[in-house]
Symmetry: C2
Subunit: 334 residues, 2 copies
Amino acid sequence: MSTLDTLLSPGMVRSAVLPVVRQQVSALEPTLARISSYHLGFIDEHGEPSTAANGKLTRASLMMAAAAGVGLRPEDVLSQAAALELLHNSTLIHDDIIDADDLRRGRPAAWKVFGTGLAILAGDALQALSLEMVVDDLGPARAEISSAFAEANRLVLAGQSRELTVRLGPDAGIAEYDRIVEEKTSALLECALVTPALRAGKPERVLAALRGAGRHLGLAFQILNDVEDIWGDPAVTGKPVRGDIGRRNPSFPVLAVFPASERLRGLWQAGDTTAAHLQEMADLVEESGGRRAAEQTSRDHFDSALAHLGRAELSPAASTELTTLFDRIVHRTA
Amino acid sequence: MSTLDTLLSPGMVRSAVLPVVRQQVSALEPTLARISSYHLGFIDEHGEPSTAANGKLTRASLMMAAAAGVGLRPEDVLSQAAALELLHNSTLIHDDIIDADDLRRGRPAAWKVFGTGLAILAGDALQALSLEMVVDDLGPARAEISSAFAEANRLVLAGQSRELTVRLGPDAGIAEYDRIVEEKTSALLECALVTPALRAGKPERVLAALRGAGRHLGLAFQILNDVEDIWGDPAVTGKPVRGDIGRRNPSFPVLAVFPASERLRGLWQAGDTTAAHLQEMADLVEESGGRRAAEQTSRDHFDSALAHLGRAELSPAASTELTTLFDRIVHRTA
């Protein structure tokens, strides 16, 4: 089978990965299975089959495309692709509790439906299941892939904790911002890209290139995501506008101009969360160049991601596929 | 070095395992390190060194004694012993949130000091760290030990979820009770006993004997723990008396007599949690034979645990040591 044949459309990733996710989750203890299946959109809150959104499977798509790029068949990393989606979703279930977010993908968050206690256990269970799947998989480089997942898991949690702490003060600076994004966003993308290369026994220079691609992809995505939070169309982003500045969660455009703007500092420190106040902050950040700086920095990271990808010695077809995927992830093109 | 030389007193286990636990936890992201170190009694809530209780290291002690029994040196499973304590403590941090328990080992629970959000992340981080330690350990049977930890992790979470669900109705029966205890209590004890045997490459009959010992040890412990919750001295147990029947959490003595006692059913269903009401339930359970049945069943499981231990082909000195440990765990003798 040529690598070209193994390239998968988003629909093909979905139809390959979701059955594995569904089967693994349904084998959990019944209550944990029910909560997880609800969160993943397989059932509604009454346990009836549902066709709710279950996410874009970004990480599984990256892993499957990277697998093709290193000459593997999709089934060689299918279990890992499903496991990475489960790990990601474990963090989402806990995130919604931590941030007191009532909605997830347009439906009540798991903790709103099943209570905080059981939702904590369901998140724990998906984290545990994800690691168990990679640990129990008998394919090549089982140990190295398990280590990569365990490290990614640790980094995501470190990033989430660091973000909650930094939220207290916007003087963190871009270096601290980058570190948080590399941990909470890039780590799982790097894991997605590097897992097939580990399985295929690729040398360290390939692994390093793929890690670099994932790191910059996460930064490009998160920074543009921050821009959309302030200036995006809620109908497109699916999130209430200006959530970050409303919560005083320092995002890239704010951090880029904060040190120089005495007036922004005053607005930020005022507890005001009215639309007019948020609009005033948004206008000030834009006038001070925060939006332009963010968009330029996101573009730079996107270019760096592609440059690293180009050094990963992947098949040309897979490189093209991954370039399209990177673009879709950062620019949210359907 | 003879196996006799490697037997460790509780103090020796403590001085071997705690430095590893402390070092691993201190390498976490600073906020997660602080919360975990607080929970583990290394620091107080202001970050100052503390000599607070950090648990009995039951699981680490079992693992170290079992290691001696299969001819290993303590350092051969030191990382696993520390990892198992971290896994256990990850569940304690989340348990306190789920049960809204304000106190842990006589101090404010982690979530009371640092907030629910960060305490959720700290529990997640200890779970992740535990798995990372066993996954990254390069010694023999790394994969099998990782699988054992991942399975134990899944079982504990399943048991906790099942318990929260069963708490809604006391008609569960002893079979359901046993299953919950085997998951939430026995699984980590089995993991403690079986890990050294996996590392030493022991055959399945030895592994099965050790698993059986851990399973019955957990049941013997939990059932007597249930008795102490109702009739024990709070000064000895360190917990408020009759917490289980106050919360209507069906414990073994209650389940043993519930089907036959119409009057207990009536008292149970009344929302009353006054001391007089709980006393009346306790007296009724005792008169109906619930206490006697629980104490006898705990003794039976204890005997079964020792019988399984006797079939595990351990060195005689280690068998003696483990028998003492089992007794200490179940009967809470210092």
